[in-house]
Amino acid sequence: MTHEIKIKMLTVALTGNPNSGKTTIFNKLANARESVGNYPRVTIAPRERVIEHRGRQIMLVDLPGIYSLSARTPEEQAGRDYIHFKRPDVVINILDSGNLDRSLFLTTQLIEMGCPRIHALNMFDEARRKGISIDTPALVSMLGGPVIETVATTGEGLERLLDAALEIANPATPPHPSVSVGYDTHLEAAIERVRTQITELHPQEMSAQQSRWLAIKLLEGDDEILTREGEHKELIEQVGTERATFKQHHDESCELAFAAGRYGFIHGLLMEARTVSAEIPDEALLHTKVDDLLLHRWLGLPILLGLMWVMFETTFTLGAYPTDIIKSGVDALSGLLGGILPDSMIKDLLLNGVLAGVGGTIVFLPNVVILFFFLALFSETGYIARGAFLLDRLMHLFGLHGKALIPLIMGYGCNAPAIMATRTIEGRRSRIITSLVTPFMCCSARLPVMMLFAGAFFSAHAGSMVFAMYLLSIVTALGSAILFSKTVLRSMPEPFVMELPPYRLPSIRAVLFHMWENAAGFLQKVGSVILVGSIVIWFLQEFPREIAFSQDYEAALTELSAQPASDERTVTEERLTAERDREKLEKSYLGRIGMAVAPVFEPMGFGWKDTVAILTGVVAKEAVVASYAVLYAQSKESEGLMSAISGAMNPAQAFAFMVFALLYLPCLATIGAIRREAGSWKWVGFSVAYSLGLAWSLALIIVNLGRVLL
């Protein structure tokens, strides 16, 4: 029996407020022990890591940063459900020592749930510098669990945290005396009345602590708990009456009275266990000075824009150097494989399918890494919250949160990491709106398409046309944000309630870890979605193998090669090869699909070639130009492609195609990112349907306007 307990893996959940240093502690604990065998290397969510401490396997779970366990936001819900239903062996409650007044609120709820807990007084050094001294031993009995002073950035106290977890989980350790948060007499009387009823309904099922917790939750009007107790009609009725009577007598809802009671408890506790020096520390004065500049009425916004510009510029200019190296690496590999492998279908698949698709996407890795370096820097220092504060007024006009600016700007570079950046937005509604509108931003992969069409049809005004597309993309994004916030996402109002954390110097380790984690996520995507997508497109393009050509190209080419070399021979050879490739593509599955889908685009007058280009663009927008090059059997760079295309459409159709290509669908990588950030395929489906519908209608309107006007 004892043996069994010994080998059982210990589950330790980390909880705490946002900005409490919870994630830093998690990363520090997880990374110092990277060598443990079953360490899952590339998991993004849920954040779980198995580590080893003193010969014991511990599963660390990083719960989302929350201020309360009321289950009002998905994050709070996830946190509460985990602690309540999964019953981790130990909960490590991470507190910001310099901000105990507020961070202990979550603690009072943990106390009431009665879970085995350890309290980490994190950023203890910062608190000391602020002139705060804490009587740690006194807190142990008040909070009902070990209290450990920690400094996440240096790793101080983290070993002791794990030691304490092992000790608490050991059945031989006597349990800490239970603590309870006391409320005023009216609330206590109500709790007691509800609890009596609960014990009657669930005889002998619950401990005193559990029934008290349930009574409090019911009185707080917790929807989920009310539903769960729904079968007990009398109980629900009694709770309803209690709540109504309380509100009537106190002009305050039960839940707010409970909240005030909890802060009363915290106030009393801190009066005893904490002293704060009256002197304002130098650090705080410095922070105020920095804020005076960065949040300045006139300078704040220009500084923010300047920083955004630096981030944007560095991501795409500095990123270009490693991108070139990766690109030549991919080319070298492709050349090497081309030399070694015998001509076969496998070789073709490897070179033109896998390497072309995966290699074409992996070149964005440097951009992703640099982008996330900046995002980590801004969020770790506390600047992101300031940026959101500065911009909220403007973004609010469009139904967005102040923090939506970053993803929108980054969207001009690449949509997929931009959508990942929506993670910094706390409100779920704002996050979904932002991830739904970000794909409209004209990313760098769409630029070649715009340049090709602008050059082919509007050569005199090519620059203005491309700029117009950039404008159209931001107008569509903001317009759609207004629309979504007034329609589909209206039902979830979220006030802008945001903490401005004190400025903190980020640890290099934390920034690097953040970068690595996101780079890993990106590589994982390349290895899955992009890999499969590229193979599928390759197959569709290459099959069926046996095609009934309209003429025997091979014979003609063989015949030609027998002739003496001449310019004329070269030209004919090139023409024949190009025609053969075009016919092959036309009769491939991809070509057939293109022709089958083409009727959808008939009202705009797009042909099957345009359709195929549009379809391949779904995998990655870069593919649109590449497809045209293959379809028109022209080299991508050549002027020939422009002149070949320019004959196929009238200017209105070309403009319509540009608009369509700008808006029609998020690429596969972006779809993956939306799925992850919005949390469900439902939103992906909505995004696809909305953008397709919008792009199609706009293109149709443009073509018809063109017919009338031209």
């Binding site: 201020y67 309360s68 009321s70 009002r72 310099g98 901000n99 007044d101 507020r102 609120f105 002009d251 305050e252 809802s253 839940e255 707010l256 909240a259 005030a260 802060y263 009363g264 804020d291 949040l295 009425r297 006139w298 704040g300 916004l301 919250a385 959101a388 504060f389 500065l390 909220d392 007024r393 403007l394 609010h396 109002p493 006030p495 802008f496 309630v497 945001m498 903490e499 401005l500 954390p501 004190p502």
Partner: protein, 81 residues
């Protein structure tokens, strides 16, 4: 009369450097959100900063900085302290 005058004061009316004591939040859903952030009956709040376009604003509460939009702050009733 004095009472009604006091009732009318909201968080959005605080001037720079002025502080007040929370009496009540006039919207239950918002009240909940704010309660988790320490803004409950009896808490002391002061105005720290205003954004470039006058909205949102930053308030000091329980030793940290909290940013709120004016339309939300208007629902927090205060008593000057």
């Amino acid at each position: 009369m004095q009472n009604s005058q006091m009732e009318a004061l909201t968080l959005a009316d605080l001037g720079p450097g002025q502080s007040g004591c929370v009496v009540k939040v006039a919207d239950d859903a918002l009240g909940h959100n704010l309660a988790a952030m320490g803004l409950v009956r009896g808490a002391t709040v002061s105005l720290n900063r205003t954004a470039p376009m006058g909205n949102p604003r930053i308030y000091a509460i329980k030793g940290y900085q909290l940013s709120l939009r004016n339309e939300d702050a208007r629902k927090v009733l205060l008593r000057l302290s």
